[in-house]
Amino acid sequence: MLSAYKRLFPALVFAALVFAPVAVFSSRIVSREISFFYALAWAVFAGGVAFASFYTGRVSFFRRIFFSVSALAFLVHFKFNLFSKVFDSSCFKDTPYCHIAIAPSFLNYLYLQYLALMSGGWAVWGPLSLVFVWLFATLIIGRAWCSWACFYGGIDDGLSALPKKALLKTEKWGFKLRDFPAALLIFLLLVSFANMLPVYCLWLCPFKMTGSFLDTDYALIRNIQYGLMVLALAVLFLGPLLTKKRTFCSFLCPFGAWQAFWGKLNPFRISVNALKCTGCQACVEACPMYAIESEPGSKAEISSYCNLCGECLKACAAGGINYSVLGFRMPYITEGFGKLLNPESFLVFSALTLGATFASLWAPAAMGDIVKLIR
């Protein structure tokens, strides 16, 4: 009974705290199109993940399951829609409503908003509304977006966990190229603005790879676009399998660089206890994002590219790495209802609730697609 009180009941309360808002928001989102039960099933799944991670303390393991399932659901639903009328080439040159597109097309959004305000066209308020949603998400979970909510990240993360060992050792050049997404972001911001086109979506987005999107007059350009998209696909799917790292997120995602900058607005951090760190570098190897740097024997340094996935917590044998609020170390409560007050619990609650609510845009619908396909 005492054990149940100390472990089971707090975990059930935690699961209920995640389940309730996800069920409410998810059912609101899907109610117009599909049955309420799909939303309920999705909320039960999110609640189950919350329960398992709280009960076992294996945050990263269950996060990855949730994250990968969410990304797979996106692929299923997106591909079902892809072959229908939703995304045809005539509408593609508008910047799509996708979080990845926010960063490289931000100047375009601002300019369109400026034009809307100047013309009195208040109905064209659309572009920046997505930015407000992003700002809200950034304040709530910051960089954790990249390890709890992003559908690209889910694929990259899930695949990076499959191999037992890395076939390619990438640390040498990996850290050298780690700033490439920042360069890509600056370049895309400027070039997208100069051409008033979502250049990233047109040239690099691997999810958009179908003939109908490449509506250009020149075969050469079409071939280059295909080539770049195949490269991006390889980095997204093959890269993690070969390197055990999230290669697309680490080297090709402009939103990752954007979020690394703005993520500082959010208080959640990963902190290293200098007294416990032995400089063994297990965390450096475990980090799928090349976000931890350390010389042998010296304290590990967490960079702003850290997306709070928690892989390093699991890897640190000395228990020297923890979730914290603004880097302040707090006593870590391991049992009972007090565990609900750990920074880790706050982060998991915020990230899982927000990630699951965001995924309600496609995950329940993907279940519906699969059921329809089976029938």
């Binding site: 700033d179 490439f180 600056i186 370049f187």
Partner: protein
């Protein structure tokens, strides 16, 4: 004269976003990669870039006034595409000149060594010859005036206000560290590839 200056200034203010869009992809990465730690150094680079742009615009304006017709001053499409290729080559040269000199010291005595010092000016000039829509509009008014001094006042106002739009490019430069410079070099490399692609595409696709 003051009225003409204001008119040009207002035209520039209302259309400056276009100038920003056409010049920033070249200027911003260069400032990140080649800028210094003080405002003074970066401001000099900025001024040099503007001077290049100013010279290019003035040359066009002079040709426009002397020809007295709207279609005269435009460069052939092929020359514009070639200009983009040359812009890209200067960017590459800036990025790799250090390594080039290390492996081939004789290159230091070539005219390219002078070009390396004047890269902001050359980049400004090369972006200037790719006429943007607001400048084309200003040019028409300039030819209507048919007076060199009046044209200078009008054009001075236009150039001043459009240059204001480029000032935000200076904002991050005092915070340049080795890391931001590295990011700047990578950005410049991507921008150079982009300009090379656009230039080659123009050269290949034109009849």
């Amino acid at each position: 004269m003051a009225a003409l200056f204001s008119e040009g200034f207002l035209l520039g203010l209302s259309t400056g976003a276009y100038c920003l869009a056409s010049c920033l992809p070249v200027l911003a990465p260069y400032l990140l990669a080649g800028g210094g730690l003080s405002w003074k150094i970066n401001f000099l680079i900025f001024i040099e870039f503007l001077a290049g742009r100013f010279i290019a615009y003035t040359l066009f304006a002079l040709v426009a006034v002397s020809l007295g017709k709207a279609s005269g001053p435009y460069l052939p499409q092929r020359a514009l595409a070639a200009g983009m290729v040359v812009t890209a080559l200067f960017m590459f040269y800036f990025l790799f000149s250090g390594r080039l000199k290390k492996h081939a010291p004789c290159l230091a005595s070539l005219p390219a060594a002078w070009a390396e010092k004047r890269i902001p000016f050359l980049l400004g000039f090369l972006t200037g010859i790719n006429i943007c829509p607001p400048f084309a509009a200003g040019l028409l008014r300039l030819m209507g005036l048919a007076d060199a001094l009046k044209g200078l006042a009008y054009f001075g106002g236009f150039f001043t206000s459009t240059s204001l739009f480029l000032l935000p490019a200076l904002t991050p430069t005092p915070f340049l560290g080795s890391r931001l410079k590295r990011i700047g070099r990578m950005t410049l490399f991507l921008a150079a590839l982009w300009y090379l692609f656009l230039g080659l595409k123009g050269l290949i696709s034109l009849p």
